[in-house]
Protein backbone atom coordinates (compact mmCIF):
# COMPACT_ATOMS: atom_id res chain seq x y z
CA UNK A 1 0.00 0.00 0.00
CA UNK A 2 1.39 3.38 -0.97
CA UNK A 3 0.47 5.89 1.66
CA UNK A 4 0.49 9.64 1.27
CA UNK A 5 3.42 11.29 3.00
CA UNK A 6 4.29 14.94 3.17
CA UNK A 7 6.15 17.08 2.58
CA UNK A 8 7.40 16.83 -0.95
CA UNK A 9 10.67 18.60 -1.69
CA UNK A 10 10.16 18.62 -5.45
CA UNK A 11 7.20 17.92 -7.64
CA UNK A 12 6.58 17.66 -11.39
CA UNK A 13 3.18 17.36 -13.03
CA UNK A 14 2.81 16.34 -16.67
CA UNK A 15 -0.28 16.09 -18.82
CA UNK A 16 0.74 13.68 -21.55
CA UNK A 17 -1.16 13.18 -24.79
CA UNK A 18 -1.42 9.66 -26.21
CA UNK A 19 1.40 10.15 -28.69
CA UNK A 20 3.92 7.52 -29.68
CA UNK A 21 6.77 7.72 -27.21
CA UNK A 22 5.09 10.23 -24.88
CA UNK A 23 5.87 7.92 -21.95
CA UNK A 24 9.52 8.84 -22.43
CA UNK A 25 8.74 12.39 -21.34
CA UNK A 26 7.71 11.02 -17.95
CA UNK A 27 10.71 8.70 -17.83
CA UNK A 28 13.14 11.54 -18.53
CA UNK A 29 11.44 13.79 -16.00
CA UNK A 30 11.76 11.12 -13.32
CA UNK A 31 15.41 10.71 -14.22
CA UNK A 32 16.06 14.45 -13.85
CA UNK A 33 14.21 14.63 -10.55
CA UNK A 34 15.89 11.53 -9.18
CA UNK A 35 19.37 12.38 -10.35
CA UNK A 36 19.21 15.78 -8.72
CA UNK A 37 18.29 14.06 -5.49
CA UNK A 38 21.22 11.67 -5.69
CA UNK A 39 19.41 8.50 -6.67
CA UNK A 40 21.53 5.85 -8.35
CA UNK A 41 21.25 5.05 -12.04
CA UNK A 42 20.03 1.52 -11.36
CA UNK A 43 17.24 2.83 -9.16
CA UNK A 44 16.21 5.38 -11.75
CA UNK A 45 16.26 2.75 -14.49
CA UNK A 46 13.81 0.70 -12.45
CA UNK A 47 11.59 3.74 -11.94
CA UNK A 48 11.79 4.47 -15.65
CA UNK A 49 10.68 1.02 -16.78
CA UNK A 50 7.86 0.88 -14.24
CA UNK A 51 6.73 4.38 -15.10
CA UNK A 52 6.75 3.65 -18.83
CA UNK A 53 4.53 0.63 -18.19
CA UNK A 54 2.11 2.69 -16.09
CA UNK A 55 1.93 5.38 -18.78
CA UNK A 56 1.35 2.83 -21.54
CA UNK A 57 -1.45 1.27 -19.49
CA UNK A 58 -2.99 4.69 -19.09
CA UNK A 59 -2.72 5.50 -22.78
CA UNK A 60 -4.16 2.16 -23.73
CA UNK A 61 -7.12 2.20 -21.43
CA UNK A 62 -7.72 5.89 -20.88
CA UNK A 63 -9.81 8.13 -23.04
CA UNK A 64 -7.47 9.14 -25.78
CA UNK A 65 -8.68 12.71 -25.98
CA UNK A 66 -7.79 13.32 -22.34
CA UNK A 67 -4.34 11.80 -22.18
CA UNK A 68 -2.87 10.91 -18.80
CA UNK A 69 -1.69 12.90 -15.82
CA UNK A 70 1.72 12.00 -14.38
CA UNK A 71 2.85 13.31 -11.05
CA UNK A 72 6.40 12.84 -9.82
CA UNK A 73 7.47 13.85 -6.36
CA UNK A 74 10.47 13.54 -4.12
CA UNK A 75 9.64 12.64 -0.58
CA UNK A 76 11.75 13.94 2.24
CA UNK A 77 12.75 12.38 5.49
CA UNK A 78 15.22 13.71 8.05
CA UNK A 79 16.06 16.63 5.81
CA UNK A 80 16.87 14.77 2.60
CA UNK A 81 15.06 13.02 -0.25
CA UNK A 82 14.19 9.46 0.65
CA UNK A 83 11.87 8.28 -2.12
CA UNK A 84 10.41 9.04 -5.52
CA UNK A 85 6.66 8.91 -5.78
CA UNK A 86 5.22 8.41 -9.26
CA UNK A 87 1.51 8.61 -9.95
CA UNK A 88 -0.20 7.97 -13.29
CA UNK A 89 -3.85 8.89 -13.62
CA UNK A 90 -6.24 8.16 -16.48
CA UNK A 91 -9.95 8.39 -17.08
CA UNK A 92 -10.56 5.11 -18.81
CA UNK A 93 -12.60 2.04 -18.10
CA UNK A 94 -10.88 1.14 -14.85
CA UNK A 95 -8.51 -1.72 -14.09
CA UNK A 96 -11.21 -4.32 -13.44
CA UNK A 97 -12.61 -3.96 -16.94
CA UNK A 98 -9.29 -3.81 -18.71
CA UNK A 99 -8.38 -6.19 -21.47
CA UNK A 100 -5.17 -5.53 -23.26
CA UNK A 101 -5.41 -4.51 -26.89
CA UNK A 102 -1.66 -4.29 -27.24
CA UNK A 103 -0.09 -5.76 -30.28
CA UNK A 104 1.57 -9.11 -30.10
CA UNK A 105 0.45 -12.70 -30.16
CA UNK A 106 -0.33 -14.42 -26.93
CA UNK A 107 0.37 -18.02 -27.88
CA UNK A 108 3.53 -20.07 -27.61
CA UNK A 109 5.48 -21.43 -24.72
CA UNK A 110 6.47 -18.06 -23.32
CA UNK A 111 3.96 -15.70 -21.76
CA UNK A 112 4.00 -12.47 -23.73
CA UNK A 113 1.04 -10.47 -22.44
CA UNK A 114 -0.04 -8.92 -19.20
CA UNK A 115 3.37 -8.00 -17.83
CA UNK A 116 2.79 -4.31 -17.12
CA UNK A 117 1.56 -4.50 -13.55
CA UNK A 118 3.91 -7.39 -12.78
CA UNK A 119 6.91 -5.30 -13.80
CA UNK A 120 5.67 -2.31 -11.81
CA UNK A 121 5.32 -4.42 -8.67
CA UNK A 122 8.69 -6.12 -9.13
CA UNK A 123 10.70 -3.01 -9.94
CA UNK A 124 9.17 -0.55 -7.48
CA UNK A 125 9.09 -0.84 -3.69
CA UNK A 126 5.39 -0.05 -3.33
CA UNK A 127 2.58 -0.06 -5.88
CA UNK A 128 -1.04 0.75 -5.27
CA UNK A 129 -3.87 0.92 -7.80
CA UNK A 130 -7.05 2.86 -7.14
CA UNK A 131 -9.54 2.22 -9.89
CA UNK A 132 -13.18 2.80 -10.59
CA UNK A 133 -14.78 3.14 -14.01
CA UNK A 134 -13.71 6.51 -15.34
CA UNK A 135 -10.80 7.07 -12.98
CA UNK A 136 -7.65 5.08 -12.29
CA UNK A 137 -4.57 6.11 -10.34
CA UNK A 138 -1.45 3.96 -10.24
CA UNK A 139 0.71 5.15 -7.36
CA UNK A 140 4.27 3.83 -7.04
CA UNK A 141 7.11 4.51 -4.66
CA UNK A 142 10.82 3.77 -4.96
CA UNK A 143 13.07 4.38 -2.00
CA UNK A 144 16.54 5.77 -2.18
CA UNK A 145 19.07 2.99 -1.78
CA UNK A 146 20.79 4.41 1.28
CA UNK A 147 17.75 5.51 3.23
CA UNK A 148 18.10 4.98 6.94
Amino acid sequence: MVSEREPFVAEVRLLLPPLEGAELVAVRAAEVVGRNAGFRTETLDAVGIALAEACLNGFEHGRNEGGIMVRLALEEGEGRPTAILAEVEDHGVGFGARRSRRTGRGGGRLKKRGWGLVLMRELMDEVDVESVPGHTVVRMRKYREDRG
Binding site: E20, E42, G104, W115
Partner: protein
Protein backbone atom coordinates in the same frame (compact mmCIF):
# COMPACT_ATOMS: atom_id res chain seq x y z
CA UNK B 1 11.23 12.02 -28.47
CA UNK B 2 10.72 9.02 -30.70
CA UNK B 3 10.31 10.91 -33.95
CA UNK B 4 13.53 9.39 -35.22
CA UNK B 5 13.31 5.70 -35.81
CA UNK B 6 16.86 4.53 -36.24
CA UNK B 7 17.31 1.15 -37.83
CA UNK B 8 19.27 -1.23 -35.63
CA UNK B 9 22.72 -2.06 -36.91
CA UNK B 10 23.10 -5.72 -37.71
CA UNK B 11 26.00 -7.73 -39.04
CA UNK B 12 27.18 -11.28 -39.27
CA UNK B 13 30.58 -11.67 -37.65
CA UNK B 14 33.07 -14.52 -38.06
CA UNK B 15 31.60 -17.67 -36.65
CA UNK B 16 28.26 -16.92 -38.27
CA UNK B 17 26.95 -15.00 -35.29
CA UNK B 18 24.41 -12.30 -36.09
CA UNK B 19 25.10 -9.27 -33.91
CA UNK B 20 22.39 -6.63 -33.60
CA UNK B 21 22.93 -3.35 -31.78
CA UNK B 22 19.77 -2.19 -30.07
CA UNK B 23 18.69 1.43 -29.70
CA UNK B 24 18.14 3.29 -26.43
CA UNK B 25 14.46 2.37 -26.01
CA UNK B 26 13.02 -1.01 -26.93
CA UNK B 27 9.31 -0.48 -27.36
CA UNK B 28 6.93 -2.17 -29.77
CA UNK B 29 8.33 -0.43 -32.82
CA UNK B 30 11.99 -0.81 -31.88
CA UNK B 31 11.37 -4.40 -30.84
CA UNK B 32 9.93 -5.19 -34.24
CA UNK B 33 12.83 -3.43 -35.97
CA UNK B 34 15.26 -5.51 -33.93
CA UNK B 35 13.44 -8.71 -34.80
CA UNK B 36 13.30 -7.79 -38.48
CA UNK B 37 16.99 -6.85 -38.53
CA UNK B 38 17.88 -10.15 -36.93
CA UNK B 39 15.72 -12.25 -39.23
CA UNK B 40 17.16 -10.54 -42.30
CA UNK B 41 20.51 -12.06 -41.39
CA UNK B 42 19.31 -15.54 -40.62
CA UNK B 43 21.15 -17.55 -43.18
CA UNK B 44 21.54 -20.76 -41.31
CA UNK B 45 19.48 -23.58 -40.00
CA UNK B 46 20.42 -22.95 -36.38
CA UNK B 47 20.79 -19.20 -36.01
CA UNK B 48 23.01 -17.69 -33.37
CA UNK B 49 21.89 -14.20 -32.49
CA UNK B 50 23.50 -11.70 -30.15
CA UNK B 51 21.79 -8.47 -29.14
CA UNK B 52 24.17 -5.82 -27.86
CA UNK B 53 22.25 -3.60 -25.44
CA UNK B 54 25.09 -1.13 -24.72
CA UNK B 55 22.87 1.79 -25.73
CA UNK B 56 19.65 0.50 -24.21
CA UNK B 57 18.38 2.02 -20.99
CA UNK B 58 14.64 1.54 -21.24
CA UNK B 59 12.54 -1.35 -22.43
CA UNK B 60 8.85 -2.00 -22.18
CA UNK B 61 6.87 -5.20 -21.95
CA UNK B 62 5.55 -4.92 -25.51
CA UNK B 63 9.06 -4.64 -26.90
CA UNK B 64 10.22 -7.59 -24.83
CA UNK B 65 7.21 -9.63 -25.91
CA UNK B 66 8.32 -9.17 -29.52
CA UNK B 67 11.77 -10.42 -28.58
CA UNK B 68 10.09 -13.39 -26.88
CA UNK B 69 8.36 -14.24 -30.15
CA UNK B 70 11.71 -14.11 -31.89
CA UNK B 71 13.22 -16.24 -29.14
CA UNK B 72 10.57 -18.90 -29.69
CA UNK B 73 11.30 -18.87 -33.40
CA UNK B 74 15.01 -19.30 -32.74
CA UNK B 75 14.44 -22.09 -30.23
CA UNK B 76 12.23 -23.86 -32.78
CA UNK B 77 15.19 -23.72 -35.17
CA UNK B 78 17.47 -25.12 -32.46
CA UNK B 79 19.35 -21.83 -32.46
CA UNK B 80 20.69 -19.57 -29.74
CA UNK B 81 19.67 -16.08 -28.68
CA UNK B 82 21.92 -14.05 -26.43
CA UNK B 83 22.32 -10.57 -25.00
CA UNK B 84 25.35 -8.62 -23.88
CA UNK B 85 25.99 -5.31 -22.10
CA UNK B 86 22.65 -5.61 -20.33
CA UNK B 87 21.98 -3.10 -17.57
CA UNK B 88 21.11 -4.59 -14.16
CA UNK B 89 17.52 -3.39 -14.39
CA UNK B 90 16.99 -4.79 -17.86
CA UNK B 91 18.59 -8.06 -16.74
CA UNK B 92 16.09 -8.17 -13.91
CA UNK B 93 13.25 -7.44 -16.31
CA UNK B 94 14.42 -10.28 -18.55
CA UNK B 95 14.48 -12.52 -15.52
CA UNK B 96 10.93 -11.56 -14.53
CA UNK B 97 9.57 -12.03 -18.05
CA UNK B 98 11.28 -15.36 -18.66
CA UNK B 99 13.76 -14.19 -21.28
CA UNK B 100 16.71 -15.13 -19.10
CA UNK B 101 15.42 -18.67 -18.81
CA UNK B 102 15.91 -19.37 -22.51
CA UNK B 103 18.40 -16.76 -23.71
CA UNK B 104 22.04 -16.42 -22.69
CA UNK B 105 23.25 -13.21 -21.10
CA UNK B 106 26.88 -12.09 -21.20
CA UNK B 107 28.61 -9.15 -19.56
CA UNK B 108 30.18 -7.83 -22.77
CA UNK B 109 30.44 -8.50 -26.49
CA UNK B 110 33.89 -10.07 -26.44
CA UNK B 111 32.86 -12.62 -23.83
CA UNK B 112 29.67 -13.35 -25.74
CA UNK B 113 31.39 -13.84 -29.07
CA UNK B 114 33.99 -16.10 -27.53
CA UNK B 115 31.34 -18.24 -25.86
CA UNK B 116 28.97 -18.29 -28.83
CA UNK B 117 31.78 -19.00 -31.26
CA UNK B 118 32.00 -22.42 -29.74
CA UNK B 119 28.33 -23.02 -30.45
CA UNK B 120 27.90 -25.93 -32.77
CA UNK B 121 24.92 -24.43 -34.60
Amino acid sequence: MTAEKPTPRAEVVPGGITVVEATDYINNEAGQLLADAAKAHFGRERPVLLFDLSATRIINSIGVSILLELLEDILDRKGTMAFCNVSPTIARTFDIMGVAQYARIFPDRATALEALGGHDG
